[in-house]
C-alpha cells in the first residue's frame, strides 16, 4: 500500500481524459496491497453489487497522464457511448413496461434480450484491461464483469421461476442507474468535458444503489435456492469418470456468504474514494 490510485471503472479511459485543469485530477488512491491482492481484487465488484460505480483500480503516478492512441480513444469513446445508450434504452423500456402494465410481472422477460446483450458486451472491458487501454487490473475487471454475468446468465436466465420476483427489479434498477452514470462518466472524461453533476452522481449514487443492488441480488439468489435444490441443476454427482463433484446449491450458499466480507470492503473503499475525489481529503493509507 502507499501507492495511490483512483478507482475507475474498467470501461473507461478516464485517465486519458484526466486534464490538468478543473476538475482537479483525482488523487490516486490504492486499496490493493501485494499481500492481499486476491482479496481486494475480488472486492472491487462494482455495480454488480448495486451501486458502486467503481469497477477497478487505476495505477497512476501523481501527475502522469496516460497516452492513449487515437484508435484507442475513438474506440473507448464509442464503447462508452454505446453502453450508456444501451442502459438508457433498458431504463426506458423498464419504465414504459411498468407504466403500461402496472406490474413488474413479465418485466424481466420483456427486457431480457437487451439486458443480456449489453451486460455480456461488457466482457470487452476485460479485454480493454488486457491490452492496456484501460489502466484497471484484469483481475479486478474480470471479477466485476463475471459477477454480473453470473447473475444474468446463471441465475435469472437459467432459473425461470424466479424471473418475476420483486428482487429482480430491485437489482435491475440499481444496475441500470449505476451503469448509465458510470458509462456517461467515462464518456465525458474521454471527451475531456466532465460535468460536475456526473462526477457527483458517480460518487454519491452508490451510497444508496450499492446496498440496494446487493439486496436485490441476494434476495434473488435466495429465492432461487429451492428450485436449484429440487432440480439438481448445474451439478455433477459421483461416481463419474473425472472423479469430481459439484453441487450448485452449496455453491450458491457459499456465494451468498461471500457477500458478507466483500460488500463492506467495497462499500468503504467507495466511501474513501468519494471523500478523496469530492472533498479532496488526503487519506494516508494503512501500511502493510
Amino acid at each position: 500500500m502507499g501507492r495511490l490510485t483512483e478507482a475507475a471503472a474498467a470501461g473507461g479511459g478516464a485517465s486519458a481524459a484526466r486534464s490538468a485543469g478543473p476538475p482537479p485530477a483525482p488523487l490516486p488512491l490504492s486499496s490493493t496491497s501485494p499481500g492481499c491482492t486476491a482479496t481486494m481484487a475480488s472486492s472491487e465488484e462494482d455495480g454488480a453489487n448495486g451501486g458502486a460505480s467503481e469497477a477497478g483500480e487505476e495505477r497512476e503516478a501523481p501527475g502522469k497522464r496516460r497516452r492513449l492512441g487515437l484508435l484507442a480513444t475513438v474506440w473507448l469513446t464509442f464503447y462508452n457511448i454505446a453502453m450508456t445508450a444501451g442502459w438508457l434504452v433498458l431504463a426506458i423500456a423498464m419504465v414504459r413496461f411498468y407504466m403500461e402494465k402496472g406490474t413488474h410481472k413479465g418485466l424481466y422477460k420483456s427486457i431480457q434480450k437487451t439486458l443480456k446483450f449489453f451486460q455480456t458486451f461488457a466482457l470487452l472491458e476485460i479485454v480493454h484491461c488486457l491490452i492496456g487501454i484501460v489502466p484497471t487490473s484484469v483481475i479486478v475487471a474480470g471479477v466485476q464483469v463475471s459477477s454480473r454475468i453470473f447473475m444474468v446468465w446463471l441465475i435469472t436466465h437459467s432459473i425461470k421461476p424466479i424471473q418475476n420476483e420483486e428482487s429482480v427489479v430491485l437489482f435491475l434498477v440499481a444496475w441500470t442507474v449505476t451503469e448509465i452514470t458510470r458509462y456517461s462518466f467515462y464518456t465525458f472524461s474521454l471527451l475531456d468535458h466532465l460535468p460536475y453533476f456526473i462526477k457527483w452522481a458517480r460518487y454519491n449514487f452508490f451510497i444508496i444503489l450499492y446496498p440496494v443492488g446487493v439486496a436485490g441480488e441476494l434476495l434473488t439468489i435466495y429465492a432461487a435456492l429451492p428450485y436449484v435444490k429440487k432440480t439438481g441443476m448445474f451439478s455433477i454427482r459421483l461416481p463419474n469418470k473425472y472423479n469430481v463433484s459439484f453441487d450448485y446449491y452449496y455453491f450458491l450458499l457459499i456465494t451468498m456468504a461471500s457477500y458478507i466480507p466483500l460488500f463492506p470492503q467495497l462499500y468503504f473503499h467507495m466511501l474513501r474514494q468519494r471523500r478523496k475525489v469530492l472533498h479532496g481529503e488526503v487519506i494516508v493509507e494503512k501500511d502493510d
Binding site: 459421483l238 461416481p239 463419474n240 472423479n243 501500511d287 502493510d288
Partner: protein, 336 residues
C-alpha cells in the same frame, strides 16, 4: 549534540563506532551521519553518528534495532527515497549516493516469518491431510466406509506418490535449498497454507472416495503416468541439487545455472527454471494417473503461478547477465 523535538519520542542517537586510533584526520572526516526517517510521516526516528563509510545496510539495521527493538532487522525496509526500492543488506554505505549525512527512509514490512518455517508448515499439511482421507478417517465419507481401504491399486499408488512428493519437499527445505531471503511477511503463511492444504484436501477427497472411478485406459494409463511422475520428480530433485551447488553455503551469490553431467539437468539448455518445468510435469503425471479433475485444476493453477515466477526469474537473469544463453525460455522449451 543533535538535539531537536520530534514527537512522540526523541530520536535516538547511537554512536556507531569509536574512532580508530592512529587514523588520519582525513579518514575520520569521511565518517557518515546516518539519519533514519519514517517513509510515510517523515518523522525522524533515529540518528546514527560516526558510522563507518564501509558499513553495510545490514549493520545499520542492527543499530536501528537497538533503539527500536520492536523492529527487528528482517522487518526493516530502508531506502534512499521514501517511494523507492529497498536497499539490500549487502549494500555498502559509501557506495550509495549519499553525502556526509545519509538520509534513509524506513518502512515497516510487518511481522516476518522465516521461509523455512513457511515451507515446512505448508508442506507438512498436505502430507498429513491426504493421509486422513486415504485412511478414511471418520466423518469424511459415510460411516460404513470408516477406516476401509480402496480396492483400486491406483489409489494406493497415488497415496505413495503424493506422500513421497511432500516428504521430498520437506527434506529439500531442510537440507537442500539455499534461500536468498530469510523471511517473508507473516500473512503469507495463511495464504500459502490455505492454498496447499485446501487443494490437498480437495484432491484427496475424490481420489480416496469410495465411489472413485479408476482411469479409463486402466493399467496402461497408470503405468505411463507413473513413469512421467517419477521422471519429473527425479528431474526436479536434480535441478534443486544443481542450484544448490551453484551457491556456496551462507552466500547470496547468483550465477547462471548450466547443465551438469546429470542428464536431467540438460533441460537447462532450453529453460531457465527447469525445476518448475519438472514440477508441472509431475502434477500432470499425477493428474493422468488419478484421472481426477481437481488434480488437473491444481496443476493448472500451479502452472500459472510457476510461469509467473519463471518469467520473473528469467527476466532477472537477463538483466543481470549480459551473456545469458539466448535459446532459453522461462519454463516451457521454445514456447513460454
Amino acid at each position: 549534540l543533535f538535539v531537536f523535538n520530534s514527537p512522540p519520542s526523541r530520536p535516538a542517537v547511537v554512536s556507531a563506532g569509536s574512532p580508530v586510533p592512529g587514523t588520519v584526520s582525513g579518514a575520520r572526516s569521511q565518517r557518515t551521519l546516518v539519519e533514519i526517517l519514517d517513509a510515510k510521516t517523515r518523522e525522524k526516528l533515529c540518528f546514527l553518528d560516526k558510522v563507518e563509510p564501509h558499513a553495510t545496510i545490514a549493520e545499520i539495521k542492527n543499530l536501528f534495532t537497538k533503539t527500536h527493538p520492536q523492529w527487528y532487522p528482517a522487518r526493516q525496509s530502508l531506502r534512499l527515497d521514501p517511494k523507492g526500492k529497498s536497499l539490500k543488506d549487502e549494500d555498502v554505505l559509501q557506495k550509495l549516493p549519499v553525502g556526509t549525512t545519509a538520509t534513509l527512509y524506513f518502512r515497516d514490512l510487518g511481522a516476518q516469518i522465516s521461509w523455512v518455517t513457511v515451507f515446512l508448515t505448508e508442506y507438512a499439511g498436505p502430507l498429513f491431510i491426504y493421509l486422513l482421507f486415504y485412511f478414511r478417517v471418520p466423518f469424511i465419507y459415510g460411516h460404513k466406509y470408516d477406516f476401509t481401504s480402496s480396492r483400486h491399486t491406483v489409489v494406493h499408488l497415488a497415496c505413495i506418490c503424493h506422500s513421497f512428493h511432500y516428504i521430498k519437499r520437506l527434506l529439500e527445505t531442510l537440507f537442500v535449498h539455499r534461500f536468498s531471503h530469510g523471511t517473508m511477511p507473516l500473512r503469507n503463511i495463511f495464504k500459502n497454507c490455505t492454498y496447499y492444504w485446501g487443494f490437498a484436501a480437495w484432491m484427496a477427497y475424490y481420489i480416496n472416495h469410495p465411489l472413485y472411478t479408476p482411469p479409463t485406459y486402466g493399467a496402461q494409463q497408470v503405468k505411463l503416468a507413473l513413469a512421467i511422475f517419477v521422471i519429473c520428480q527425479l528431474g526436479n530433485f536434480s535441478i534443486h541439487m544443481a542450484l544448490r551447488d551453484l551457491r556456496p553455503a551462507g552466500s547470496k551469490t547468483r550465477k547462471i545455472p548450466y547443465p551438469t553431467k546429470n542428464p536431467f539437468t540438460w533441460l537447462f539448455l532450453l529453460v531457465s527454471c527447469p525445476n518448475y518445468t519438472y514440477e508441472v510435469g509431475s502434477w500432470i503425471g499425477f493428474a493422468i494417473m488419478t484421472q481426477c479433475l481437481p488434480v488437473a485444476l491444481f496443476s493448472l493453477v500451479g502452472f500459472t503461478q510457476m510461469t509467473i515466477w519463471a518469467k520473473g526469474k528469467h527476466r532477472s537473469y537477463l538483466k543481470e547477465f549480459r551473456d545469458y544463453p539466448p535459446l532459453r525460455m522461462p519454463i516451457i522449451p521454445f514456447l513460454l
